[in-house]
Amino acid sequence: MNYGSNKFKRSTVKFVMGLLGKALEKVSTVDEEVRNEAGALPDGFIAVMTILPNGPSMRAKKEGDHFKYLGTSNLREDGDLVVMFKNLESAFMILTGQLSTHRAYAQHRVSVKGDIVKAMIFTRCLNVVQAYLFPGPLANLVLKRKLPMPLNRQLKRLQVFLTLPF
């Protein structure tokens, strides 16, 4: 049997993870809140998002005062902090905004390997990134609370959007 929908979901989650990774790099260079958070992580710290059992994965590295996106792969990757989606379907629901991060944790759909304090910091960074990426109403569904979006942040958001494809 050829389960075409799995193939579609696999490429979708890989694409969205790549988008998140790129956005993480951009947002962490322009947004003060994320930069401050990232500052608390050790240099060279590698954060990984991966889908069990065998990928795809996305990797990012803390470098200086921001994150550097290291790309996606079709393998299961390891790092200092690994956010593991337990299965493809869960990853798809979460990464397409059908299931919020905190509900995903509540529903045991992700499992985390590594230091919890650093996981909390990384999650807060990703929350800000999601607020940048998603239009208001969707961000409200995905996040526990609305991120304040004063004018200067709106402008930075525009900046992130304009440079994201590159």
């Binding site: 593991m84 905190h102 509900r103 944790y105 509540a106 529903q107 045991h108 759909r109 499992s111 985390v112 390997k113 590594g114 230091d115 919890i116 304090v117 996981a119 909390m120 910091i121 999650t123 807060r124 526990k144 609370r145």
Partner: protein, 396 residues
Amino acid sequence: MLPEYFEFFAPVKIVSGKKAVENLPYELDQLQAKRPFIVTDKGIEQAGLIDIIRKAMDAGEMEIGAVFDGTPPDSSIAVVNEAAKIYKDNNCDSIVAVGGGSVIDTAKGINIVITEGVDDISKLMGAEVLKKPMKPFIVIPTTAGTGSEVTLVAMISNPEEDVKMPFTSYRLFPNAAIIDPRMTMTMPPKITAATGMDALTHAIEAYYCNQKNPFSDAYAITAIKMISQYLARAVKNGKDEEARYVMANAATIAGIAFSNSMVGAIHSLGHATGGVAHVPHGVAMSIFLPVGLEYNIPKSGKYIGELLLYFAGPEEYAKTREDQRPYRLIELINKLREELHELSGLPLTLKEAGVKEDQFEEIAEHTLNDGALMFNPRDLNKEEALELVKKAYYGK
């Protein structure tokens, strides 16, 4: 009515009741263990509780490998590493924890170090890092509070960084918990009160935190009923065997509730206060419970209000208007706290517990990095955490 998806796991065998400790050799034998390493602390040894263990082991014709009584409050990574050495030097093959949360979590730490064959536990911090099956592990709680005998987490303090490090893994569950009212009978009133409030907080947070489900609800409700009726009695008269027996079981039941539904902001605030200002966990729970409940009313008022039925009974529940129920519950919890304060000197504010104003900032910061916050229904930022700390400090 039901969450769209949930999981529930309670793999610890419960051996509960009169003279239950006498079954220790049998339970060890079931696990094919022959030379247990007994982990405890000086207070428990002095209370004569290890003699009960020694006698039971003698009757069961089983040898004790070694007794380690050097557990400090809140455990510590250095002590875990030291104790693991003694375990190896004495060719032990299993672990029996006899004590409160500090002892139980130390024992979990020792099990990690022995099983993974490392010399330093801090290398294995975090979640899901542990892969190998652990040594046979039996817990005999001597406080009625933490529920650590049925949880998958060990909180071990790292004094250098003023933090309590969590280790979590499904492998950390003990094989069995032996609940014997004789073991909590010697607990002093203030510790009885503090640890009982920890258990109550577990049950209450379990009833509204994010992983709540019908199974964890059943455990949470049962524990709340038991604790509301028996905690003050156990504090008033430590020799009240019935009260001790009910409280010991309630704490374990609450442990099963919260290890499935998780705890939230109240525990995050408490862990942070424990790490920064060394306030005992149960004392911190008692202080933050009303403050944290009030904070969660906007998101979880319905569930918090439902608890009035189990805490105060049907009459109180029926005569209180629905929108007033969460507030009434907080009022009654405050009444219980005051009663415990009168009976045992349990502190009512962070100020009484010795916290200093210049520690507020650090406590708020650590609160945000505590994993339990992930499971609190209402989000909490640093300013809000600071507000709650101040409320808990000034008592208003």
